[in-house]
């Protein structure tokens, strides 16, 4: 082997020894830049606001008083033992703090339970609102809602801001600690309960509903009224 090719090999070997250090230096520099950017940009805002809000904001804090027997948890909407039972009366306040009651009030009612952090609720709320805006809710049937499982540490908080953004028009009962949700046997969000004018449960179901399914529920509430 000639002297020049030996020196080329040596130089290549030296270069190879150096490149790993360059790789490590590049990684370290990039991580350092990431850290500096995070420190400079984060600022420590954001999540403090939720806890600092403090006090008892009626839109996010409210315990519902339940009178009457609670409904069993829903397992199969097609064979629901709660159908025919009387919905326990749910007494609490709305997002502004004004007293609000859900129960037998002489008008058939659709009740929708939503949790602000639940992606299915986030998708269902605009569907229901569009249905209402398009006149889907029959004359004589009420739609009310329950804002439940409110948790400042979870996404899409606070629920009142979210519902306002969606143009939500139904009254909202605040059930921050799930008392009402448990009393109606809620298995998952979103959750729908339909009661007739006497407060008797006609139907319960959970999950995202289409406007056709909303129509179907509403029509079951209308028929007894026109029939009798």
């Amino acid at each position: 082997m000639s002297r020049s090719s030996a020196s080329v090999t040596r130089r290549r070997a030296a270069k190879q020894r150096r490149t790993p250090y360059l790789v490590i230096a590049a990684i370290a520099a990039a991580v350092l830049v990431a850290l500096v950017v995070a420190l400079a940009a984060g600022g420590g805002d954001g999540d403090d606001a939720a806890t600092d809000g403090g006090g008892a904001d009626p839109a996010t804090t409210g315990t519902v008083t339940v009178s009457g027997s609670p409904l069993p948890q829903l397992t199969d909407p097609a064979d629901d033992p709660a159908v025919g039972m009387t919905l326990p009366t749910l007494e609490g306040h709305d997002q502004s703090g004004a007293p609000m009651t859900i129960g037998a009030d002489g008008r058939p009612t659709m009740i929708v339970f939503v949790a602000h952090w639940c992606p299915h609720c986030q998708r269902e709320v605009p569907v229901v609102q569009q249905w209402v805006d398009d006149g889907g809710l029959p004359e004589g049937v009420d739609l009310v809602s329950v804002s439940t499982a409110i948790d400042a540490s979870r996404p899409n908080y606070p629920p009142d801001a979210w519902l306002a953004d969606e143009g939500w028009t139904a009254p909202v009962l605040v059930d921050s600690d799930n008392t009402a949700a448990q009393a109606v046997g809620l298995p998952a969000y979103p959750f729908f309960v339909a009661i007739d004018a006497d407060g008797t449960v006609v139907l319960r179901t959970s999950g995202e509903l289409t406007t056709d399914q909303l129509d179907a529920i509403a029509s079951t509430l209308v028929q007894p009224a026109t029939g009798g």
């Binding site: 270069k15 190879q16 490149t19 790993p20 360059l22 790789v23 490590i24 990684i27 990039a30 991580v31 830049v33 990431a34 850290l35 950017v37 995070a38 420190l39 940009a41 984060g42 600022g43 420590g44 805002d45 954001g46 999540d47 403090d48 949790a115 952090w117 639940c118 992606p119 299915h120 609720c121 998708r123 499982a149 540490s153 979870r154 996404p155 799930n178 949700a181 809620l186 298995p187 998952a188 969000y189 979103p190 959750f191 959970s206 999950g207 995202e208």
Partner: protein, 181 residues
């Protein structure tokens, strides 16, 4: 001074972004190397990365594990079912990769790659569920559905996306070919 969750999330998201860039560059280098052997910059890059590949993979696994522990133990984001499956993939890597790097044992790929690939597939499924919650079910489990997006940076970097970035970089680093004499 303590770091806010926002700051830590931004830092972790930037690291995930770096991991993604590194993964793309390494995959591109491997493709070029296969198509046009002897391309100068590719050989130089792979020569430079190869000796530190196990060490870097070990650091990625450890940082990923610390990031997930930060979210569950400090930020109090409860891990969902799929988060636990990804932890099953990542946490062992944070133990065996540093040991392999210390012992310069490249045969660790036989044990580490299945964990990285398996974990990465779960991450992929998890981030699909975040985008399309109906893939999981039609409703939200009242406790802790996997479709909740706890963190989102740059419009796409959620926690499972960060995990996928880590798994992918680890897998590519483990797959780097042996040096050709």
């Amino acid at each position: 001074m303590s770091l806010s969750t926002d700051q830590v999330s931004l830092f972790l998201a930037l690291l995930a972004l770096l991991a993604e860039i590194a993964t793309v560059v390494l995959v591109a280098a491997l493709v070029v190397r296969a198509a046009r052997p002897g391309t100068g910059w590719v050989a130089g890059l792979l020569d430079g990365v190869r000796p530190v590949a196990l060490g870097v993979a070990a650091v990625v696994a450890i940082v990923s594990m610390l990031g997930s522990l930060y979210y569950s133990e400090v930020a109090n984001f409860p891990p969902c079912r799929l988060c636990w499956f990804q932890r099953i993939g990542m946490y062992p890597l944070a133990v065996i990769l540093p040991l392999a790097a210390w012992r310069r044992d490249r045969a660790v790929r036989w044990y580490a790659l299945p964990l990285a690939v398996g974990g990465g597939l779960v991450s992929l499924y998890h981030l699909l569920i975040e985008r399309y919650p109906s893939l999981e079910s039609g409703s939200c489990d009242p406790t802790n559905p996997c479709s909740i997006i706890w963190v989102e940076r740059f419009g796409y970097l959620t926690i499972p996306t960060m995990a996928l970035s880590g798994f992918a970089l680890i897998a590519v680093l483990l797959l780097l070919p042996e040096e050709i004499p």
